[in-house]
Structures are given as structure tokens and as C-alpha cells.
Amino acid sequence: MKRPHNHSGDRTCNSPEHTIHRRMFLDGSMAAGAASVASFNGLFSIPAIADETRRNGKKCILLWLCGAPSQFETWDPKPNTPTGGPFGAIDTQTPGVQISSLMPKSSSIMDRLAIVRSMKTRPSEHFQGIDVLTRGDQPRPPFVRPILGSVVAEQLGQLDSPVPQFVLLDPCPEGNEFKGFKAGNWAGWLGAEYGPVRAGGEYSIPDLLRPETLSETDHSDREALRRFLSRKFENDQRSKAAASYNAAFERVKGLMSCAPLFDLNKLPEQDRQRYGGGAFSQHVLQARHLIENGSTFVMVANGMPWDNHVFQHEMHQMLVPEFDNVLFQLVTDLEDRGMLEDTLVIAMGEFGRTPWLNEARGRDHYPNAWSLAMAGAGVKPGVVYGATDKYGVEVVDGQVDNHRLFATIFSALGIDPHEEYDLPGLPTFQRVEEDAAPIAELLIKTDGLKA
């Protein structure tokens, strides 16, 4: 089915926001930074391009385990085998299913989780893996497929919300490929307005707060003066850049109203204790908070801590328990708030790790057989899908690639995975290519799915 979209092709490659990194704004350079988020203002002003029935209130939190966690130390342990590593396996609430002994809390909510143990994807390097597992497909230059959060924001975002619809919380931006991303890298052909607002760590948004030395009246007066002068300049000079700056200032005004949502210190202390002290934990809590308050898609990353070519077990002894706790807290919180039915939680990286240890006691990249977890929204709880062989080397049942995964994710969120993008000046793309079928066994609602 083709659906007309109100996008212009030149948004993806020529507008000024594509040449100015979003970080500049958040680094505190208001003028330069304003341009970088200029088009985000469009999220609140784009015409209603989809039926309201699409906007069914579904949301998504992606715990982006960047660097790629080990399936052996998480969802697919192989205890007492040459590849199993030093950590054991524990029983879960689901009879016959074991997970790593590093994950006792997740074991207690297995009836709410869906595990895929049979991921097999192609890229074995981070940049390519991140591309494929956050966009659903490999690049097809010069066209940039939008990242999952951009698609969800575009499809399910609330037009009248002052809260950003796609938020990326990443306190360690030095650590992954995202630091180099420009606005257009995120949303691709959808247009930069569907890129994320970034926060976390050095991406905090302190400049959104009005300085105490500046009164509300003075602030309004200055804004009025700025608006008058820049509009005049814009009109006199027909300046696209000035228009962009103006749009950005409007966007900043919108963000100011929800700035407290980005302040970790304003989160309830009891919740902060429960989620744990680490930056990733705190930002997962913040993700819950943003979703509760109107965001549609929140992606939480923390650099690339899972890339343990060295010190595999020494790092996983810390990272997995942290992940175990935040997944437990998040899923149970969403359930307690009656939000789990409408909120899809996805926890994955860009691939898995090798069954064998390298000389440096690390596990290397391994896309051939790896695992991920989902919970909530339209995903069937208590399911373990697919299997690997006894050493975890190959998938032996239910192989899933990135296409099937994304078809499943979109289906769970009520987004047609096979819809075509019909964008001026671009070839026809499908939201998920190759007509890939969602995994019916993982979906609660399977009516109308392609076989």
C-alpha cells in the first residue's frame, strides 16, 4: 500500500541542519545550536499525515546495548561447555528456560519477556551493525533509511505534545558511532524533524533554563526584540539561515517547558535508588519518565561498553547485573502503571559475541548467533524463540535476520512493516524490505500478518 507523505526530497540533503551537529546546540552555543534543531520544531507543526487510528498510544523504549553484549552471559548461556564462560545459568520463572546467573531479576519476570535466541545478521563491525540494527537494513547510498526511533516518532508521535517524541539518552557519546551522526543521519529521508533530541551526560540541556539573574519579563522582552530583528532580517534578506534560526528558537521555547523532564535530579530519589547508581540505570529511569510524560520513543545508550574484546568477564560481571536490574525495574514499573501493554521495550545490541575467547580473555564480534529481549506492547510474553547449538556457534532453529526483527517490531507497534515510502525524488522503499514476515510466535495479535 502506498501512502502519500508530505515530505520533500531536498530535506534530506540540503537544509542547514544537516551541516551543523546537534551537539553544538547542547554544548551551549545557542546560536549555532539553534540551527541544529531547527527542523525539530516541525514535529509539532507537520500536517496530520496519518490516520488517528495509527496514533494508538503505543510507545517504545530501546535499551541500546551498544558494543554488543555476550549472549552467553545474558540470554543464551551454555553452562559447563568449552564456550560457556565462567558464569553459570539459573532457572527462570518459565519452566525449562535458563538464563545467565548474572540475571536473577530478569529470571523472575520471564513470563513478561520475549527472548529471541536465534538472531543471525550480516555485519560484523560496529558501524555497519549499528546501521542495520537501528534502521532495519543496510545502507543504500545515497539514501539514508530512517532510524527506528524516527520511524516510530513519525508514525506514532503526538502532534500536540510539547515533549520531544524521539529522545536519545546517551551519557557517553564519545563511545559510539552516534557522536558523528548529523541530524539527517538519524531520520534519513523522513527529514531531520524526526531526529532525536539528545540528552544525558554532557548532552544535558542546562541552557534551556532561564538564568536566575534574568527575570521572566526581561527574558520575554529580549525574545520579542530578537524575534523582531531576526524576522526583519529574514524578510529583508530572504535568508534561509535566519528562518532556520527562528524556527530553532521556537523549538527551544517548546523544550524549555519540558526541561525538568531532562533533569535527573528531579527524578524521585526512591526510584533512583531502585534503578541503581550507574549512568545507564539513571537514564533508563529517565526514559520511563519521558514515556510517562508524552515521549513516544526513547533510546537509551551508554557509549559502547559492551564491546569487550578485552576483559570480557570482568566487564560483564558489572554490566549484566546493571542491565538485569534496570530491565526488571522498567518492565515492572510499566506494568504497575498499566503502561506495559502499550509500551514496547527492546533490549539489544548490534550483534553478539564469539563463542570462543581470544587471547586477551575477550569475546569478539559475532553476528552468526545472538540474542535479544523484548517486552510489552504487542509482543507475546513468556516466549523464547529460536535456538542455537550446544556451543552457541550456529542458529539451529528459527533463524531471525534484521528484516524479520524489524517486521516484528513494527507489527507489535501497530505499524505496517510493508508500507511503502513514496517520497519525491527517491526510489520506492518499503519500511521493511524483502517482504519479510514478522515472527508470528512473538506477536499477540497476528491478524492480517503476511505468512
Binding site: G67, N80, P82, T83, P86, F87, G88, P171, C172, E174, G175, N176, G201, G276, G277, G278, A279, S281, Q282, N302, G303, M304, P305, D307, N308, H309, V310, F311, E314, M315, Q317, M318, L319, P321, E322, T354, W356, L357, N358, E359, A360, R361, G362
Partner: protein
């Protein structure tokens, strides 16, 4: 200055990676702590036999010749005693909830000290959470009685007794060394060196590294520490190969020396051992960059006197009691392909003749 030559005389493999080892008093036998169990190897015939196992990796193993036994520690937190004639387990003690990272035997073999601790995120910048169990335990080898349970900050990764057996020292992830009086269990000294610990500026905002080996000098007055210098990228493993010598018992413990400029490459150093003549020590580990992964150093001057490039990660170095041989053990990368239904052996043992002039 001392000059040393090292000549390879034996090289053989065990089934899985060797994480720790000790040599018998007569220098003919090796007990190896491996990923899949405990092995006893004959250094002359280069044959080996599996004599026991833990439910996870074995981290340390040592002979208790007075009892004709072996004592081992593992990632299951268990200490066990194995009778050598029968190869039967004669005592098992669940000493820790988490791994035994390292175990040391006192010079008179009456005590062992084992260290544990799981690094868990304690705060926003991943400062280690306080210990959930005592990080250092001292156990009587004859009775299995736990004599002291001592506090430290996880993870505690290395432990050693002083040559006179009066002190035990333990070093951790954060580069903190604590020294206790073995008899009283009282803290005798503590100091911290930040030179072994990385906080990932890129890729990961967390701590990594720390002190991976330590030994007292023969006079007991100083401590040799080993590990790797800080890295910006904790995933790189490319910190400098680092040892430091500290005067621990002064009113203000101070660093006396460290790997000399121009004498180190890159890679984690996991073992340090002092030659029986008390004039040299060896440090070994992984080669990440440079031209050696095990080297001898003059204890007094700190000058490097010999280097080795073994081609595998060295996890433990032992000298025979007469000082004439150096035994290095470790692991190469785990083979990817099975041969005849099994993974090829990847635990490594090398024996070198030591000639010091």
C-alpha cells in the same frame, strides 16, 4: 648490572587456558588452574593429568607437600583440597559468594589467603559499590578454619604473603593496596596508586584494570605491583606494561620505582615473581603492542635484563626453588574449530633455563 639469558627448554599444552599455577619444591611438577579443571603436569615428560575441577574456571592452585595435597580456588568461590595420591577431594569450602580472583599460600604453607569481589556500579560514574561480603579471607590449610575476614573495595584481584608470613597484601581494581597483620588481622598499611586503573573516557564510562599481581620483595619491605597503565579506551587493552615498586611500611608509603621509560610495550601484566636469589623479578602478561610480554628486571635498579615474546598470554610465572628455571603458563586464543569432536588444546606451558651473570 645483572645480565640474564633465558633459554626455552620445554613447551607443551594443556586442554584449556591456564589461569594460575605453582611448581613443586623439586621443580619437576606443575599444578595448573585451568578453565576446565585442575591439572598436574610432569615438566620432564610434559604429560599431564586432570586431578579435579570446580564448577567454573579454576583461578589458583598450589601444592601442599606436607599433606601430599593440592589446594585450589575457583570462580565458583570455592576452595578445595585434593589428595594427590588418590586424586580425591578431601575438603571443600564455599569461601566466597563471588569468584576467588587469586589465592596465595603462606611461606610455611599453614595459611592461604583468597580474594574476591564483584565490581558493581555504585554511582553515576561507575564507582565500585561497597563490598557485599568480606573481600579477603585467610584460612588455615590444615583445618579449613577461616581465621580472618578482611574488608576491601571490590574487585580485589591480587593477594600475596610477605616472605616472613607476618603480613598479607591485597590489591584491587581501583589501585588500592591494603596490608594486614596476619596474626591479628589488623590493618597495617594502605596506599593507592591510580596508575593501573582506567576510567573509560571513550566507549565506556566505567573502571577497568587495577592491580592484577603483587609480591613482596625478599626483605619484605617493599611491594611489587603489576598491571597495565591507564587507557582512554578501556576496550583497547593498550595501556603500558607496568610494574611499580612501593615502600609500603613507611609512615607515608611511597612509590620507589616503576617500569622504566622505553622498556615497556602495551598489554595487561598479570603476574610478577621474584627470583630466589632475590636480585631479579619477572613480570608477564599479554602483548598488545611492543616486542615482549614477559621480562626480567633487576630488583635494585629496575632495569630490564631480559625479554621474551611467548606468543601467548602469560598468566603466571614461577621460578623453581633453585632458581635455575622459569616456568611460564597461560593461554592462547581459544580455537574456533573443533577437531575430531573437541576443541584443540590452548593452555600453554613453557620452561626456560635461567642464566644470570
Amino acid at each position: 648490572m645483572i645480565s640474564t639469558s633465558l633459554s626455552l627448554t620445554a613447551d607443551f599444552k594443556l586442554p584449556t587456558g591456564i589461569l594460575g599455577a605453582s611448581v613443586s619444591d623439586d621443580g619437576t611438577s606443575l599444578v595448573a588452574a585451568c578453565m576446565d579443571g585442575i591439572y598436574q603436569a610432569d615438566l620432564q615428560s610434559q604429560s599431564s593429568e586432570k586431578i579435579g575441577q570446580h564448577s567454573s574456571y579454576v583461578s589458583s592452585a598450589a601444592f601442599l607437600p606436607e599433606r601430599d595435597a593440592v589446594i585450589s580456588a575457583g570462580y565458583d568461590g570455592v576452595i578445595q583440597w585434593i589428595d594427590l595420591p588418590t586424586k580425591q577431594q578431601i575438603r571443600k569450602l564455599q569461601l566466597h559468594d563471588f569468584w576467588s580472583w587469586d589465592m596465595a599460600v603462606s611461606p610455611d604453607r599453614s595459611l592461604i589467603a583468597s580474594v574476591t569481589g564483584q565490581y558493581l556500579a555504585g554511582d553515576y560514574k561507575y564507582e565500585p559499590l561497597a563490598e557485599r561480603e568480606p573481600s579477603v579471607k585467610i584460612v588455615a590449610t590444615v583445618t579449613g578454619e577461616v581465621l580472618h575476614s578482611l574488608p576491601h573495595v571490590p574487585s580485589v584481584q591480587a593477594v600475596a604473603f610477605s616472605p616472613d608470613g607476618k603480613f598479607v597484601a591485597a590489591g584491587n581494581l581501583m589501585g588500592e593496596v591494603r596490608v594486614w597483620n596476619v596474626h591479628s588481622g589488623k590493618l597495617a598499611a594502605s596506599f593507592t596508586t591510580s596508575d593501573f586503573t582506567s576510567w573509560g573516557i571513550i566507549k565506556s564510562h566505567s573502571y577497568l584494570g587495577g592491580i592484577f599481581a603483587l609480591k613482596f620483595t625478599p626483605d619484605g619491605k617493599e611491594l611489587l605491583l603489576a598491571g597495565m597503565g591507564p587507557m582512554q579506551d578501556p576496550m583497547a587493552g593498550n595501556g603500558r606494561q607496568l610494574w611499580q615498586k612501593w615502600s609500603w611500611n613507611d609512615s607515608e608509603p611511597c612509590k620507589l620505582d616503576e617500569t622504566h621509560k622505553g622498556e615497556s610495550g602495551e598489554g595487561l601484566m598479570e603476574t610478577v615473581a621474584v627470583h630466589p636469589d632475590g636480585r631479579q623479578f619477572v613480570m608477564g602478561g599479554r602483548l598488545r603492542g611492543g616486542d615482549w610480554n614477559a621480562a626480567m628486571f633487576d630488583l635494585a635498579s629496575g632495569v630490564r635484563t631480559a625479554t621474551l615474546k611467548t606468543g601467548f598470554r602469560v598468566t603466571e610465572a614461577n621460578f623453581t626453588a633453585d632458581g635455575q628455571q622459569l616456568i611460564l603458563v597461560g593461554a592462547q586464543g581459544q580455537p574456533k574449530k573443533m577437531v575430531d569432536g573437541a576443541f584443540p588444546n590452548f593452555g600453554r606451558v613453557e620452561v626456560y633455563d635461567v642464566a644470570a651473570g
